[in-house]
Symmetry: C2
Subunit: 380 residues, 2 copies
């Protein structure tokens, strides 16, 4: 029988982390709290608001902690993440992507009756669909026109296009034009700090030009939403940027450690050595248990390199120190937290070596998110 | 509120696949049935038994279909997969990996009281732990000594080591030595058919030498388990190999299409175009919705190349034919089925364009699998 979260919680709370078998996802809640408070302080110092991206942790519990520390709302990647947050009591959500499937638009319009919901747009037909859905639901969407600041993904690619979309969003019923969004995600994959700073500067100038272009056209731009954990200091210091969307600072991972040392490791996957040959070892935390897609995992307190990552096996080579023995537990740091978290439906929440709670991970794909088109879905 | 599988089923069954919103995991059950029957025929023709690896689909429903077509049992990667299969009525399970965490060993010993359970071993201390756990549970493990046939992962690396492990497994209580296992997984990543055949031949000769070494030492080798979808014809034709562990033939994926054209595509992820710029388009099926870790996805009926894969965005470039428009649905073939399936907790089961069922995907990591060490766990 599948267990439910309540059963796991009753078994786990109060137990020592040393009793945890593998693989398991472990959250050091003290480190999360310190990271959340530190980023809140940093944003106050920079004079920017913070709207943390919750795609990193998919956790209503962590989101509420971020709001308690002063975040102005949350950023989500999907409608389903927005639903999970609003159900948990989050009052202000930005879906920082284009929402296109009709059932998703209709559902977001319903959610917008219960909370402040903004959404990113980059096409006129999508703006019209959002307007129709909000009008039908008797709700209102905040709208941020997405500007492509060099990532080449979503977003308007020319200032006049940005202006036309903003004007349309400003005119249609059910919509409230709030401003612009530009995400310099392409900068996060640049390891070199100087090169990353230059890329972020170019991205910032594209976003600044768009803001000025709209203002010259007489369009109010109240919100400019941008920035990630790898660029928050630079982007947060820009006078025209009003809020930062960073999220990875909450848990950190190997990928983001390359860019900033200001935050602590708070997320771990526990594995067990299942085979050992000299300095090489196999751990039971493969690609189905830990993310290897943006960076290789690290091991706490050990000098290792990852030599392969199969579905259920992570191959390690010890580069300094004692070799592993069969049965050794290994505390791994995910290469990329968002995709590691997405492999589990629950965190074991640990404080001072004891499991204090089990927190759900929400809005992964499947029964929670799959929708059939309803007769009431709005299509244009 | 999170939905449960029953609710999704009540909403989905009887609806047209055209009503499915995105992202969603779709199983063409007719194609699965044809693949299952075809592989059963192929194995009969080759004179080998079939013990399909269910890590590919993690579906009790598909496993029962494979058994009905003549499979001798199933292969699993983990104890949790074995539990899901045995709970569904599968009577014969091989866990084709080393099981080391004490709670996992204890649980497998309990499962072995309800079904025939075999497990792969490559270390003496692990064999002793299994013996103690089976004895304590009053059950028995079948044991296959894993031979490293060139993959460099688990498995004994020298014939004498293989023989010593087999002798130990043959002597200890609670264990029944059944034979050897060798998985030529390193051959599956070789695209060139000739090179793959040569690699598989070298792997086969290592396995054959091990079988002969044991038999010369007077050790019975009843079972030799080996082979995957990329090598089944070659490995299945070997006289000393008694069973084939192939699994990917069930669903297929881009990765396995490179190796065999004998089976049909049966697994799909449905996406929607959310942004479009000329010949480039963004689809709402990123790394959290489709596997990109062993091969890039393909699109049914379209000529595309994947230009990026973010968490929630798949960037496509159309290489021939009409460009995509915002709102277009795209039927994607996962690059690698096992890790794509692992992102969802349910399949929409489709026959002739209509959803006929919703099948659970079991034993993903989290509440179903996390265990705390119990006082009764056996440690050596």
């Amino acid at each position: 029988m599948t267990r439910d979260l309540r059963t796991l919680k009753s078994e786990a709370v109060g137990r020592a982390v040393g009793d945890v078998e593998t693989p398991a996802l472990i959250l050091d809640v003290g480190a999360v709290e310190r990271n959340v408070k530190k980023m809140a302080r940093e944003c106050r110092r920079l004079g920017t608001l913070l709207r943390p991206h919750i795609k990193v942790h998919k956790s209503p519990d962590i989101a509420l902690m971020q709001l308690a520390a002063g975040a102005v709302g949350v950023t989500t990647a999907t409608v389903w993440e927005a639903r999970a947050m609003i159900e948990a009591g989050v009052a202000d959500v930005l879906v920082a992507n284009q929402v296109v499937p009709p059932a998703a638009i209709a559902e977001l319009a319903e959610l917008a009756a219960a909370a402040s919901v903004s959404v990113a747009v980059d096409a006129a037909e999508n703006i019209r669909s959002l307007s129709l859905a909000a009008t039908r639901a008797g709700s209102q969407f905040g709208v941020l026109v997405e500007v492509d600041v060099g990532m080449g993904r979503g977003g308007a690619r020319k200032p006049d296009e940005t202006r036309d979309l903003a004007e349309l969003a400003g005119e249609l019923p059910g919509l409230h034009l709030r401003g612009l969004m530009g995400y310099e995600g392409h900068c996060m994959v640049e390891d070199d700090a100087n090169a990353r700073e230059q890329m972020a500067s170019r991205a910032a100038s594209i976003l600044r030009d768009s803001v000025e272009h709209l203002r010259r056209a007489g369009i109010a731009v109240d919100v400019v939403s941008s920035g990630g954990t790898g660029t928050f200091e630079q982007t947060g210091a820009l006078s025209f940027v009003t809020e930062i969307q960073a999220g990875s600072y909450t848990t950190m991972d190997v990928f983001h450690e390359r860019m900033t040392d200001r935050f602590e490791r708070a997320l771990f996957v526990l594995g067990t050595v299942t085979s050992a040959h000299g300095r090489e070892a196999v751990v039971d935390a493969g690609r189905k248990a830990i993310s290897t897609d943006a960076a290789a995992p690290a091991a706490v307190g050990r000098n290792i390199e990852v030599i392969f990552a199969n579905e259920e096996h992570l191959g390690l080579r010890v580069t300094a120190g004692d070799p592993f023995a069969i049965g050794d537990k290994v505390l791994l740091v995910p290469g990329y937290a968002p995709t590691a978290v997405n492999l589990y439906d629950a965190y074991l929440v640990v404080r001072d070596g004891t499991i204090t709670d089990v927190w759900p991970i929400r809005s992964r794909y499947g029964t929670e998110t799959i929708r059939l088109r309803s007769a009431s879905a709005v299509t244009t």
